[in-house]
């Protein structure tokens, strides 16, 4: 038996925000809030356009689509599922089918069918990961490739255009000045937050990510919970893709490229460990807000796209390295 008192032998990957100096504690708890505040202050000083309602609505609109995916991706990381790399495929599935099926079954059923099919793809990944035990990276990569291929084959491998302008108008409409698409994102976020933090499914998700075998021995249906996270992500990205398709009124097969990385970036910058076991939707969205605001400031400042990418990349690496460092100091 180890003689070091329990405080010292905890699993440091799971141990956060307890003990350590008050400064470390403050930094790891409030670091993100401070960073967001800093960007807000810098942006307001640097650009007259930044701190305006119009600009914020723009930021919100551009983060709504990826934000919906972020909500799902949070479940995947928390449950210990590493990452869902099939997001580009499920987004394409949502976008292409919601447009392609419009003439056949009407706009609303097309919308629903697109999301349902995306969810079915998530179910496939989920079964492979949760029930057969395939590594999530491999499973989602494989399923993503297959799904994207099938969707393209179904529409003949071409760009699909919308046939119903009314739906585009609906998606682009505003309620009290807030774009509908933003409201949908907020609704998804609220539901996601409730499920993860208040429902038994959410507690199961955290427990499965925290210690799979202990959760299994506590009668938690771990396989289903793990699979469920991928279904949730697929439903989210299906919805995201359908909204994207309706907004653009056209859908290429590669429409979803990069969304998986943006979503993972947001969740990771939000301080949620890729090893699973803890995390919340608001944290992930805070990460997203920070990334989006920073990008927005860079765009307003005329920073070139490659430089933006460079800064964002450094940011992810830096944020995680800092988080790891704080956690180690906080844990010891």
């Amino acid at each position: 038996m180890t003689d070091v008192p329990m405080q010292m032998q905890q699993d440091t990957t799971n141990e956060r925000f307890r003990g350590g100096s008050p400064l470390v504690d403050l930094l790891s708890r409030g670091g993100l809030a401070i960073a967001i505040l800093a960007v807000l202050i810098y942006g307001s000083l640097a650009s007259p356009v930044f701190f305006t309602a119009g600009n914020f609505v723009n930021v919100l609109t551009s983060m709504a689509i990826v934000g919906i995916v972020v909500v799902g991706m949070t479940f995947v990381l928390v449950v210990g599922g590493l990452a869902d790399l099939s997001v580009p495929a499920t987004i394409a599935c949502g976008a292409i089918l919601s447009l392609a099926l419009q003439p056949v079954i009407g706009p609303v059923p097309a919308f629903a069918a697109a999301i349902a099919l995306a969810g079915f793809c998530g179910l496939m990944s989920g079964l492979l990961i949760g029930y057969i035990g395939i590594n999530p990276i491999i499973a989602t990569l494989g399923v993503g490739t297959i799904v994207l291929g099938i969707v393209q084959a179904a529409v003949g491998g071409v760009i699909v255009y919308g046939t119903n302008p009314d739906t585009a108008a609906l998606v682009k409409s505003r309620v009290f000045g807030i774009p509908t698409i933003v409201l949908i994102f907020l609704a998804v976020a609220v539901v996601g937050h409730f499920v993860l933090s208040r429902s038994y499914w959410g507690r199961w998700t955290v427990a499965t990510g925290g210690n799979y075998s202990a959760a299994e021995a506590s009668a938690v249906p771990v396989r289903a919970v793990k699979a469920g996270a991928f279904v949730i992500t697929a439903l989210c990205s299906g919805l995201s893709g359908a909204l994207l398709g309706l907004t653009l009124q056209s859908a290429r097969p590669l429409v979803g490229t990069g969304y998986e990385f943006s979503a993972i970036t947001a969740v990771v910058v939000g301080g949620i460990s890729i090893m699973g076991g803890f995390g919340s939707v608001p944290r992930a969205i805070a990460g997203l807000v920070f990334v989006q605001l920073l990008t927005n400031v860079m765009v307003l400042q005329g920073v070139r796209t490659p430089v933006q990418g460079f800064v964002l990349g450094l940011l992810i690496a830096g944020a995680v390295a800092l988080d790891v460092a704080l956690r180690r100091r906080g844990g010891a």
Binding site: M1, T2, D3, V4, P5, M6, Q7, M8, Q10, D11, N14, E15, R18, F194, V195, R198, S199, Y200, W201, R203, W204, V206, A207, G209, G210, N211, S213, A214, A215, E216, A217, S218, A219, V220, P221, G277, F278, A332
Partner: protein, 499 residues
């Protein structure tokens, strides 16, 4: 080998972690060719001291001399160069390499600059033969049983021709036979002049093998004595600093009707044709050597593993159990053997751990009722005096004994009629042990049926009403407590007495 008789002299060793003093001013002298046991309760500082010796920790103060030369070890490799080898309690082997490659890990022989596999296999075979272990050097390590792996770990340390060898609880996964073989090996090493440091909770073994005994308590050295002049009772007194009269108090309870009946259960591999019944108010002991199939049997009853033959009856009705959830519905609960791996979710609070199995019952429309959740946690925190009495505390911050109490509470929240406890007191200190026994006593007094798996024979004899001894996957008929002795159990477990 150095001419000096003193292999190791540690002087004034202290080790401070932020907020905790793990070792204070410990002196330890070990001679070549002797077995030096170190005993102490959990948290007494044994492992920390050995981590200083193995170069994992740098001591805050103090000096270490090996064969009369003062040394400073900053990493395990330094200690290994000086001839110090550890046999860890947690296996330190690589599952994907072969047995031979594991034995020579970190110091593989080379030929033409390449790994000399033939030499490794040959030499490993020789060493394993010397140790009396029938293991194929070319087998993949991960395919071996745990006790075989333990022997490989010992072979690995021995193959390095160490001057000092440290064994940390080496017998915890060994059978009686294998333990006897290990002791033969240790005596042989002794004759070769190797200094052996032997850490164990099993005082009987300590008395059998050790020449000297050092007792640690709360990070301080209490005494070093020759093993000849000390008894187990005296060691316990020095370890805990008080006289322990009755380690295993037994509360009498009324034994009623059979609750769980296992008939001809088997998984075709780990256990076969196992039958027994447990009555309400009864504690049934399930013992035997490690690897006899006890844990696999328990996991199958609880739906964590699949049984391929036989059936299970609860209250006279046959039940099908394919998952822990189904077991829970049938009224069976299981506290697993490995608390850290299977018992707790470290990132959750005590409250969240306790309510995990019954979460759905505490929910309406999918939402967990916080008040019901808190009430449950408060109740068990009080009832079992979990320390600190704060259910919102992260469970990983609790001591082993308190974590175990929380794990037991977790299952009581599901109000089972049968509770299966797998090594419930392993790795908890004497005080917490007594408390866990008291809790179990109260549960059976309340009419619950308890199956307790334990390797610790005094515990089995002290606590259980009847005992089933398992050997090689087969279960002997239950024996009444009155007809039992440690010797009789060992005879059944090793096959010297036919079941």
């Amino acid at each position: 080998m150095s001419a000096a008789a003193t292999a190791l002299r540690m002087r004034g060793i202290s080790k401070t972690f932020p907020g905790v003093k793990a070792l204070s001013n410990v002196n330890l002298t070990v001679e070549f060719g002797r077995v030096h046991a170190i005993v102490g309760e959990n948290g007494a500082g044994k492992s920390t001291l050995m981590k200083v010796l193995s170069g994992t920790y740098l001591p805050t103060t103090g000096t270490t001399e090996i064969a009369g030369v003062e040394v400073r070890m900053r990493k395990p490799a330094d200690a290994q160069k000086l001839g110090v080898r550890m046999v860890h309690q947690e296996l330190n082997l690589v599952p994907d390499l072969t047995v031979a490659e594991n034995v020579y890990l970190g110091r593989m022989p080379r030929k033409w600059g390449l790994a000399d596999k033939a030499a490794m296999v040959r030499d490993t075979e020789v060493i394993l033969n010397e140790l009396g272990a029938a293991i194929d050097p070319k087998a993949r390590l991960g395919d071996l049983s745990i006790s075989q792996q333990q022997l490989v770990e010992i072979a690995k340390a021995y193959a390095a021709k160490p001057r000092i060898i440290v064994l940390d609880e080496p017998t915890s996964s060994l059978s009686e036979h294998e333990t006897a073989a290990l002791f033969r090996i240790l005596r042989k090493m002794k004759q070769e002049g190797i200094a052996i440091i032997y850490i164990s909770h099993r005082l009987k073994e300590v008395l059998e093998i050790a020449d000297d005994v050092t007792i640690l308590r709360d990070g301080s050295m209490i005494d070093t004595r020759p093993a000849d002049g000390i008894t187990a009772a005296e060691m316990i007194r020095l370890m805990v600093g008080r006289e322990v009269t009755n380690v295993f108090p037994k509360t009498p309870s009324d034994i009623g009707a059979p609750v769980l009946k296992v008939i001809g259960l088997g998984d075709g591999y780990n256990f076969r044709d196992v039958s027994f019944e447990v009555r309400s108010g009864e504690i049934l002991g399930l013992t035997g050597l490690v690897g006899a199939g006890r844990t696999e049997l328990a996991r199958a009853i609880f739906g964590l593993a699949r049984a391929t033959e036989g059936r299970i009856e609860i209250g006279g009705k046959a039940v099908t159990i394919k998952s822990p959830a189904a077991a829970m519905r049938a009224g069976i609960a299981y506290v697993p053997e490995d608390r850290k791996d299977d018992g707790i979710v470290p990132s959750l609070s005590v409250r969240e751990n306790i309510s995990l199995p019954v979460l759905r019952k505490l929910s309406r429309f999918g939402r967990v009722s916080m008040s019901a959740d808190r009430k449950l946690a408060d109740r068990y925190t009080k009832e079992f005096s979990i320390v600190p009495p704060d259910p919102e505390r992260r469970i990983s911050l609790l001591s082993g004994g308190n974590q175990q109490k929380a794990v037991i509470s977790k299952w009581l929240s599901a109000s089972p009629s049968v509770l299966i406890l797998d090594e419930p007191t392993r790795g908890v200190d004497v005080g917490a042990k007594a408390e866990i026994h008291r809790i179990i006593g109260e549960l059976v007094a309340g009419g619950m049926a308890v199956v307790m798996i334990s390797s610790e024979l005094p515990e089995v004899l002290g606590v259980c009403d009847r005992v089933v001894v398992m050997r090689d996957g087969h279960a002997a008929a239950p024996v009444e407590r009155a007809a039992l002795s440690e010797e009789r159990i060992m005879a059944l477990a090793t096959g010297e007495e036919a079941a």
